[in-house]
Each structure stands twice: as structure tokens, then as C-alpha cells.
């Protein structure tokens, strides 16, 4: 495996200054670390949606399933169910995971599917030229809302807390080292790991300065404390100016969905015995 780099030769078409580059590097490093620890690279699978974020599937030289808009998560659960030896992660967009396919996010958290979901939350539909998403601030002027949106954003961290996610973190492309660390921890967590990444969109929502100014690294926060995590998550509502914490908000072990299935393979003979037994009972 030594000769494999993690980056394909595909031409990169993200805008200059796009936060996706940072996520790519952080993710590549986190995967490299896994590989260095002995996880075979070929057991890592990336699922992406459709959007700027999703180009990650073309750029990282690992197994990938470039899915459709909004539909990373159930694919990832399917892959993990098929083969629990695989490490499965999603790169999803905020339009993707919070609008088009929100239900899957809630249900993956609820069932504690053993996958890691990284949401490239640039708070805008990048690839379709800058419309508002569920995390755009109130009054956002995009091309579908030239007069400003009339819906306040929701808070994905709070949503994940109520949905039962066991690993909930927030990172930003303005803090790459911390982001890499969060991704590493997410990938190692047994269960559903959710990482909301406040990503800069250089073309449509370039608020790096805001994240720098308001952002701080969580410290002294006990991620085992559910109530504290709820309060921490509410500190910033994705709308008004307030301190924005980055780090691990919540972490708890829970029974893992895919581990509750019988993963033995049926032999052909077992299979025919089974069929015969069923037929006999129907006679």
C-alpha cells in the first residue's frame, strides 16, 4: 500500500479560498493516521452527496460512493451493515443533510448507525449558486430569496442531541488542526459520529472573519454531560452574533445498530436447507 497517495490526480475545481480544501487536508490526514495505525486503506469508504463538498469523492483516492443530493447517510448505513469491517464516513453538504435529506440524519442518530458524518456547513447551496440553506442566517439574500429569507436557521447540534447522536462535534475550516483531531476521533468512535464543520464558501458566504472573531475552542466542557452539551449547543443559534464553540460537545457510548445483526454468511447448502424447511411447514 505504500505507493498509494491519498489524492487522485483529478483536477480540482473548488474556488480559490474555498474551505473545502481545508476539510480535504484534515480528512486526508485523519485517514492517513488511521492507515498508519494499521487500518487497511481499502477498508475505508467515503460516501458523498451532490454539491461542492461532494467533489471530495473524486479527489480522495479511497473507496467512494458518490451518491445523489441529500442521500449520503442511508447509503453509508447500508455499507456498514453489509460489512462491519469497513470504516464508513460521509461528506455531506448542509443543503444535502439539513434540507433535502434531513430525515436520514435524525434516523441515523436515533439508530446509532456506526458511521461518521461530516457536514460541510457553508450555510449556502454552493454548487447551485448561492441559495439559502437551513443554517443560513435570517435575512440571507440568495438568488431564491433576493429580499432576504424569512425563516430563521435551525441548530444542527441541538437537533442531533435530541435525536440521540452519541458523538457531536463542531469544527471549522478556520481551525484545521482541531478539525483534523475531531475527524480522527469521530472515525474512531463506535457509533454515530456527527461533525458540523463551519466551512467558508469564498463565493457565496465568506464569513471567515466572523468565525475567527466569535470562535473559541471548547475547554473545561464535559462532553459526557448531556445537559451541559445542550446548553453549550444553544450558546449560538446560527443566527445572531454570539460565541461559537468548537470541539466535542457530546460523547456517549450506546448500542450500535449494525452490531445487532447476524453477519454470518449462509452457505449454499444452508440456504437450500432453510428453503426446504420453510416449504415443509407450508405443506
Amino acid at each position: 500500500m505504500a505507493e498509494r497517495t491519498l489524492i487522485t490526480g483529478t483536477q480540482n475545481t473548488w474556488c480559490p479560498g474555498c474551505g473545502n480544501f481545508t476539510i480535504q487536508f484534515a480528512l486526508r490526514n485523519a485517514i492517513q493516521k488511521l492507515a498508519d495505525e494499521g487500518v487497511p486503506l481499502e477498508t475505508i469508504v467515503l460516501v458523498t452527496g451532490i454539491g461542492c463538498h461532494a467533489k471530495m469523492a473524486d479527489y480522495l483516492d479511497i473507496n467512494s460512493f458518490y451518491s445523489i443530493h441529500g442521500r449520503t447517510i442511508p447509503v453509508a448505513t447500508g455499507i456498514k451493515l453489509a460489512n462491519p469491517e469497513l470504516t464508513v464516513l460521509c461528506c455531506a453538504g448542509d443543503g444535502d443533510a439539513y434540507a433535502e435529506g434531513l430525515d436520514h440524519l435524525v434516523f441515523a442518530a436515533k439508530r446509532n448507525s456506526d458511521i461518521t458524518v461530516i457536514v460541510h456547513n457553508n450555510r449556502v447551496y454552493g454548487l447551485t449558486t448561492g441559495q439559502y440553506t437551513p443554517t443560513s442566517p435570517l435575512g440571507f439574500r440568495g438568488r431564491s430569496t433576493p429580499g432576504g429569507t424569512i425563516e430563521p436557521p435551525f441548530n444542527p447540534l441541538s437537533l442531533m442531541l435530541t435525536s440521540g447522536a452519541g458523538f457531536i462535534a463542531r469544527g471549522t475550516t478556520r481551525r484545521m488542526k482541531e478539525l483534523e483531531d475531531l475527524i480522527s476521533r469521530g472515525l474512531r468512535y463506535r457509533g454515530f459520529a456527527f461533525i458540523d464543520v463551519l466551512q467558508i464558501c469564498a463565493s457565496y458566504f465568506n464569513v471567515g472573519e466572523l468565525y475567527d472573531r466569535q470562535g473559541y475552542a471548547l475547554s473545561g466542557h464535559d462532553p459526557a454531560d448531556f445537559e451541559a452539551a445542550c446548553r453549550k449547543a444553544e450558546e449560538w443559534d446560527y443566527n445572531r452574533d454570539a460565541p461559537i464553540g468548537f470541539g466535542l460537545f457530546y460523547r456517549q457510548e450506546k448500542p450500535v445498530f449494525e452490531e445487532q445483526f447476524d453477519h454470518r454468511r449462509l452457505t449454499a447448502a444452508d440456504r437450500e436447507d432453510m428453503i426446504r424447511a420453510i416449504l415443509a411447514a407450508k405443506r
Binding site: 500500500m1 498509494r4 487522485t8 483529478t10 487497511p40 481499502e42 477498508t43 469508504v45 460516501v47 451532490i50 467533489k55 469523492a57 473524486d58 483516492d61 479511497i62 473507496n63 467512494s64 460512493f65 458518490y66 451518491s67 445523489i68 442521500r71 447517510i73 442511508p74 447509503v75 453509508a76 448505513t77 447500508g78 455499507i79 456498514k80 451493515l81 453489509a82 460489512n83 469491517e85 469497513l86 435529506g101 430525515d103 436520514h104 434516523f107 445483526f261 447476524d262 453477519h263 454470518r264 454468511r265 449462509l266 444452508d270 440456504r271 437450500e272 432453510m274 428453503i275 420453510i278 416449504l279 415443509a280 411447514a281 407450508k282 405443506r283
Partner: protein, 548 residues
């Protein structure tokens, strides 16, 4: 010729389906071919349910217009079905719940005396039926022994009392068939899929395929089969994508409304070449329609669902045995040719019960995907057959890249015109390869008299009724089991010499006739039914004679 029809009716929630099934099993053990139709409205308790079991000394798969015995668990069963009775129809009824000309069974008293709970009332009535029909009680014992898991002794005791209370009015001789395994269409599909190598089944409940989910969930209790019921149909088909990408043979099941939600990912299977199998149970539409009644209105939707053009397999089995065999083949072909497949059935087939006959478990080819040695694995390698070697992660040293965009051989997105053309042509060749496979499997069934002047052309669950009518009227029947890729040559050959082709369909537009026309095959006349109920034998005969 023996030909007996028994209607069993009562309130929804009172186990009518099970009672009807016991009747079928009794007649099955008596040596007859049976067929059971189950009619129920969309509600849980209180409405009227009924089954019709038909038993004959030849294969049957449809009801006649009249019944010979009515087993009435309530008054409605007598009042609502007068039109189904003839002069000599025998009514056996629970005398505590109904009054009629016929044999009353004092169910309540018997239960009381036997200290049995009310749910055992049906056993009492079944016993009375056996008694009236002259079925030896040992057969009741046999059937109850296999079919009633709990409280066997008490049920038998109650049945014996019902048996004793009945006057023998019929003299059914032992037939010479079977006994067969009696399966619902859903169960036959489930077994076929298992035979085809099913590893996982994912579904959200929806009539008429909910019972396939229930059946396979039951199998998964005791066997290593992955069965998942997720939050909705979108999740269903995407989980299936993930499972299949990672190497598990997976099927999903739904009906029209749920299928709509799957179309986007169905189209994805066109591009990412992940093999998928959808069991698609038609019911009366459009939209919610009549959720517990039947129809054949979704053929063209299945042929064209999803944006873009890509080969797909659509098979429409016509009876329980075909359902089993073609479900196995569909799963196998989906994997061989890496295409999405639809097993197109309907409420009549899914919920009807009939014997499984020979040919239900065909031998299936081994699929091995030879990967050219040397170099890294390329998921979408262009080949002459259009079929690329399919590996699943982990593949040491290689990334397996699936992609919903137009992609190059390695699975990397492209917007190049030339690659787009090459990949479209690859898909078209894959369709040819699929057609080639189909050719070897007898995709068009024929029965009846070769050389008959009238040919009934049908698809799906109208096969048995067409066969019977053709038998009676000395016609011929031709049924394309595979509808996509369309076996035009075989169908033309099967129809050659036909003087008059009559298409029999349970829809308003004549969808098979339309498909034929598009392929240069002209149907002369059509008989259609649109009320959600399957054709009865005499009804179809009459309708055909009106036009033929």
C-alpha cells in the same frame, strides 16, 4: 371433474385469512389443486373480509363466479354474497351470529362446553366444514398439526365438535394431486429471492408487499439474513445501494407510491451500476387508490421510471411458481448484468395462495467477475459486453469508486463529450447482454393449443385465469414473462400463426398492447378490467366471447 369453491367470510380482525387458508390446506391434503383469493378492505376490524378457496383436480389459479359452500362467520357473509351463490350452495354458519338456510353451528355453546376461548370459534367452523364436506377427520388433524402452532389439542377438540355437529352434504373423493406446499405470492417471491442468494431485504410496509417484509423478517429471526425496515422508501432504496455496493445481494419491496419515492435512486443504479432488485406490487391506482385491491396499471411506469436511459430488467411472473423462479432469476441477472431489476406483481398474485410446483427453483449461473490482472481495479472498465468486472470493497491496493455522475472507467466524474458517449454506449451494450441472457431463459410462456385460432395475450397475474379459459375454449395463451428488455423476437415467434390476438389486461389503457404496438406487434382486440377485482373464469370467458 371435481371443482369446488368455498367462501369463508367474517369480520376483519376475526382471522378470516387464516380460516380460508385452513380450508385450502384441507383440500390440498385431500389431493386437490387449490387456489385461494383473499378480499379485504383497508381497515383493521369490523369491515367485511372473505376468502374463496377453489379446489379442483387440475391446476387452478382463479375464482369462479359462484361458490358451492359458504362458511359464514357472520350475517354479512350471507347477505353480501347472495350473488355468488347458486341453487345448491351450502351455507354453514355460526348460529350465534347469523341465521340462514343451511347448517347452523352452535359455536358459542361448543366453545363454552369445551372451555375454549372465542378465537377458537374458527376451528369449530372449519371442523363443521370438514364434516359437511366429508373430509376425514384425520386430515383435519394433519392440517391442524402443521398449521396451528399453539393450543393444538384444544383447537382439535373444538374442531371435532364442529365436525360432529355437521351433516355430511358433499362426498369429496380423494384427489390425486399433491399435497403441495401452499404459498402466498409474497412467500414465493421471498423463497425465490433466497434461492437467488438474497443476503438482505429492506422495505417500508406497503400493501400488497408488506407480507413479504413480514415473511422475511420471520426468516431472519432464525437465519443470517439482514432485514431492515427504515424510516421511509427513500432510505430503503439507498440502504440497498449501500448494501449492494459493499457486496450483499439485496432486494427491496414496495407498491406504486413507495416506488415513486425510489425512482431517483433507481435512476442512480442506471449510472452507478449497482445491482438492485425491487419487488413492486401493483394495486388499484392512481395514488392511494384502492390500497387492498389489484390492478395492472404500472407497466409503463416501470419501463420508464427514472430520468435518463439505462437498461433494466422487468419481469412479471404470472403465478406462484413463476414468482419463485423469476425472483431467483431476477436477483441473479441483476448481479450478472449489473442492472436494476423489477419484479412486477400485483395484489392478486402477492396475496393469493396456491401450490408451488416444479420449476420453482431453477439452477442459476455462477457469476464470477474476472478482473484483468495487473494494474489498479477500475470499476467501470469498458468491455465488449458492456459489463465491467464488479468487485466490492475491500479490494487491496485499489479504491472502488461508484458514481452517479457520468464518470470515466475509474469512476471519476467527467463532463467530456467523448467519455459521455462511450459510457452511454457501454450501457446500451449491457442492455444487449441482458437481452442475450434473457433469450436463454424462455422469456415467453405459451400454453393451450398450438394452432388455435384465438390467442390470449396476457402478462402477470391474469395468466392462470387465461390458461383456464383457453383450456375451456380451446384457445392458446402467450405470456411474456420478461417485459424489459422486451423479448420481441420470441414474442413474435410465439404469436406466429395467430389469427386473432386478444390482450387481456387489468387496466384501462391496454398497457401490454401499447408495448406490443411499439414493437411492431399488433393486438387485434382487448379485454380490460378496471374495478380492482381479478377476472373470474366465467366473466373472462364471456368478455372474450363478446369480442373474439
Amino acid at each position: 371433474m371435481a371443482d369446488l369453491s368455498v367462501l369463508t367470510g367474517g369480520r376483519a380482525g376475526d382471522g378470516i385469512n387464516s380460516a380460508g387458508l385452513l380450508v385450502s390446506h384441507l383440500l390440498n391434503r385431500m389431493g386437490y389443486s387449490t387456489y385461494m383469493y383473499f378480499d379485504y378492505p383497508s381497515l383493521i376490524k369490523g369491515g367485511h373480509n372473505f376468502t374463496i378457496t377453489r379446489a379442483a383436480d387440475m391446476p387452478v389459479g382463479a375464482c369462479r363466479e359462484k361458490v358451492d359452500i359458504v362458511l359464514a362467520l357472520n350475517q354479512d357473509t350471507i347477505d353480501l354474497h347472495r350473488d355468488l351463490m347458486h341453487d345448491r350452495t351450502v351455507v354453514i354458519y355460526d348460529s350465534g351470529k347469523a341465521t340462514a338456510d343451511g347448517q347452523g353451528v352452535p359455536v358459542e355453546e361448543i366453545l363454552k362446553e369445551e372451555q375454549a376461548p372465542p378465537v377458537m370459534g374458527n376451528s369449530c367452523m372449519i371442523g363443521a366444514f370438514a364434516g359437511a364436506a366429508g373430509i376425514p377427520f384425520t386430515i383435519v388433524e394433519e392440517v391442524f398439526g402443521t398449521q396451528i402452532p399453539r393450543g393444538l389439542e384444544k383447537n382439535l377438540a373444538v374442531a371435532r365438535r364442529g365436525y360432529g355437529s355437521a351433516t355430511r352434504v358433499l362426498h369429496i373423493d380423494r384427489g390425486h394431486e399433491g399435497p403441495f406446499s401452499l404459498l402466498s405470492g409474497n412467500e414465493a417471491i421471498g423463497l425465490g429471492l433466497l434461492h437467488g442468494g438474497l443476503d438482505a431485504y429492506v422495505a417500508y410496509p406497503m400493501t400488497p408487499t408488506s407480507n413479504l417484509l413480514h415473511f422475511l423478517a420471520g426468516v431472519a429471526e432464525d437465519h443470517p439474513l439482514t432485514v431492515v425496515h427504515p424510516e421511509n422508501e427513500i432510505s430503503v432504496i439507498l440502504m440497498a445501494h449501500g448494501l449492494a455496493y459493499a457486496g450483499k445481494r439485496t432486494a427491496v419491496g414496495t407498491s406504486g407510491g413507495g416506488f415513486c419515492l425510489m425512482t431517483e435512486s433507481f435512476s442512480m443504479a442506471g449510472t452507478n451500476e449497482v445491482p438492485l432488485v425491487v419487488v413492486m406490487g401493483q394495486r388499484t391506482g392512481p395514488s392511494t387508490g384502492l390500497p387492498t385491491y389489484t390492478g395492472q396499471t404500472d407497466l409503463h411506469f416501470m419501463l420508464h421510471a427514472g430520468q435518463g436511459e439505462f437498461p433494466r430488467l422487468v419481469v412479471a411472473p404470472g403465478d406462484i411458481t413463476q414468482a419463485c423462479a423469476w425472483s431467483a432469476r431476477a436477483l441473479s441477472l441483476a448481479w450478472t448484468c449489473q442492472v436494476p431489476a423489477i419484479i412486477l406483481v400485483d395484489k392478486t398474485l402477492c396475496e393469493g395462495i396456491a401450490p408451488l410446483r416444479d420449476g420453482a427453483f431453477p439452477p442459476l449461473p455462477d457469476e464470477n467477475h474476472d478482473v484483468p490482472a495487473g494494474g489498479r481495479y477500475r470499476r467501470y472498465t469498458i468491455t465488449a459486453s458492456g459489463i465491467s468486472p464488479m468487485l466490492h470493497p475491500p479490494v487491496p491496493g485499489s479504491a472502488v469508486k461508484a458514481n452517479s455522475y457520468i464518470h470515466d472507467e475509474a469512476g471519476i466524474t467527467t463532463e467530456r463529450a467523448d467519455v459521455t458517449v462511450r459510457m452511454t454506449e457501454k450501457r446500451l451494450r449491457k442492455g444487449e447482454s441482458l437481452l442475450h441472457e434473457i433469450m436463454r431463459l424462455d422469456p415467453v410462456e405459451r400454453s393451450g393449443r398450438e394452432g388455435a385460432s384465438i390467442t390470449l395475450l396476457c402478462w402477470g397475474s391474469t395468466l392462470p385465469v387465461c390458461r383456464e379459459v383457453a383450456g375451456n375454449l380451446d384457445f392458446r395463451v402467450v405470456q411474456p414473462v420478461v417485459l424489459s428488455p422486451f423479448p420481441g423476437e420470441q414474442l413474435k415467434r410465439a404469436l406466429s400463426g395467430a389469427e386473432q390476438i386478444v390482450a387481456v389486461e387489468e387496466n384501462a389503457l391496454g398497457q401490454l398492447a401499447m408495448l406490443c404496438a411499439r414493437n411492431g406487434i399488433t393486438v387485434d382486440t382487448s379485454v380490460r378490467k378496471i374495478d380492482g377485482r381479478p377476472f373470474a373464469v366465467e366473466e373472462l370467458e364471456r368478455r372474450i366471447l363478446e369480442v373474439a
